[in-house]
Amino acid sequence: MQLPDAEKLAQAMTQQIEPLLGENSVLVGMHTGGVWLAEKIHALLGREIPLGTLDVSFYRDDFSQSGLHAEVAPSDIPFDVTGRDIILVDDVLYTGRSVRAAMNELFDYGRPASIILAVLVDRGGRELPIAAQVTGAVLELAPDQNIQLNRDPQGQLALSLRQTTV
């Protein structure tokens, strides 16, 4: 399967995001791929806009089944969330459960004016009523296929596909 170029998708997303920005806009990337993507979009936008990161490990709904993830990174929201228009950035949108967790976490920081979701890849398979407003690409993937974003030491983003056992 030919995967789209993540760098080109990030550029296309940046063009979609630009007209949506207002004076209260902030970018928030979700660990790990979403943080890389948010940093890339932030650089491409080339303007002063606050950037935060979220690790939703403490808000996941599968804690009682799978426990705490091995690597938890601190969430870093270096601004007051209340009244902000948040652009929530993630690499892959699948079941929608991580986005649910991210929204719950954001509301524990304050009351945002709005949240929109921007994703690099929408792979379908939603289990919750969640949709992205900004999408890089839509891909049809089987449940045993796992798509993920990687970042090389030069900071270049690329997508990769893996077979998993479900």
Binding site: S57, F58, S66, L68, A70, V72, P74, S75, I77, Y109
Partner: protein, 321 residues
């Protein structure tokens, strides 16, 4: 003899099921707890200082021995994880009516307990309870006799890492009543496991356990020698009741030889930090000038203790059954 090699704190998947002692945990596990705690520190700085991880879980603080700081920080930590916390001050209740420890525990387990935080004057009490409870219940040792106080040891490691970044280049001195101190034992195991190359204990002979050097520490009886060029000074509480025995002449005399004053602290590195697990005896093991001075990190220790206990509870609660 497989049962002898099994670590009673770990489940069959090698995950932490109980936290009873730092001894036997590897550096990777200790670092995982410290890294997780780092994420919890930021939770305590937010508007809503609560996360939903342990929602619906019941955590029982089983304190067979009085404690304020440890019990309170465990309680705050559990509440920030959204657990329900029940505090039992057992001195004042069932035990005085003659109930055994295991009967107390069984009764609380029948009330759907998920976790016990245990403080007891007898070494091994938490281990004893962990061996008795059913597999879905987790036990955290909050101090047992002279044996161990693992969450204190961990929060001390968190504090050291916070101020000194790394462990592999440090010289750490533990000063005072090592003989009666579960805190010192947990600190020594944690420091050596995390790769601190030089751990010193400084105390009169009467306050050191026999063969303490076998724990991997260097023994000093003189403050001036022991504090020279150290990065971290950990003071231990001198328990007043020790004074009544034959171990020490008097509090004044102890302070003269082993109390930490600015003059003595000046022998350590200029950026050395001073720690104390509390509660402090000002003027006995530590001078007020030092306790309240710029090198003291005694209050940050307390703050970090909440995040470290949140990390321990959520790692235990997340282990597979």
């Amino acid at each position: 003899m497989a049962f002898l090699s099994r670590n009673p704190q770990l489940n069959q998947h090698g995950e932490l099921q109980h936290l009873l002692t730092i001894e036997g945990l590897n550096a990777g596990m200790l670092r995982h707890i410290l890294d997780t705690a780092e994420s919890f520190v930021s939770v305590s700085e937010r508007e809503v200082k609560k996360i939903p991880l342990l929602r619906g879980k019941s955590i029982f603080n089983l304190f067979f021995e009085p404690s304020t700081r440890t019990r309170t920080t465990f309680e705050i930590a559990a509440k920030r994880l959204s657990a329900d916390v029940i505090n039992l001050n057992i001195n004042a209740s069932s035990q005085s009516k003659g109930e055994t420890v295991l009967d107390t525990v069984d009764n609380l387990a029948a009330m759907q307990a998920d976790m016990f935080i245990v403080r007891h004057a007898q070494s091994g009490a938490a281990h004893f309870i962990a061996g008795h409870v059913s597999p879905h219940i987790h036990v955290v040792n909050a101090g047992d006799g002279r044996h161990a106080h693992p969450t204190q040891g961990l929060l001390d490691m968190y504090t050291i890492r916070h101020f000194k970044q790394e462990f592999h280049n440090l010289r750490v001195a533990i000063v005072g009543d090592v003989l009666h101190s579960r805190v010192a034992r947990s600190q020594i195991h944690a420091l050596t496991t995390l790769g601190v190359p030089e751990v010193r204990v400084i105390a009169p002979k009467t306050l050191l356990p026999a063969q303490v050097e076998r724990l991997g520490v260097q023994v000093y009886h003189d403050m001036a020698q022991g504090l020279k060029d150290v990065d971290v000074v950990i003071m231990l509480r001198l328990q007043n009741e020790r004074m009544r025995g034959a171990l020490l002449p008097s509090a004044q005399e102890y302070f003269k030889s082993y109390g930490l004053t600015q003059d003595k602290l000046a022998l350590a590195k200029p950026d050395a930090i001073v720690m104390h697990p509390g509660p402090m005896n000002r003027g006995v093991e530590i001078d007020s000038d030092v306790a309240d001075g710029t090198q003291s990190v005694i209050l940050p220790q307390v703050t970090f203790g909440i995040a470290v206990r949140m990390a321990v509870m959520s790692i235990l609660a997340g282990s597979k059954q």
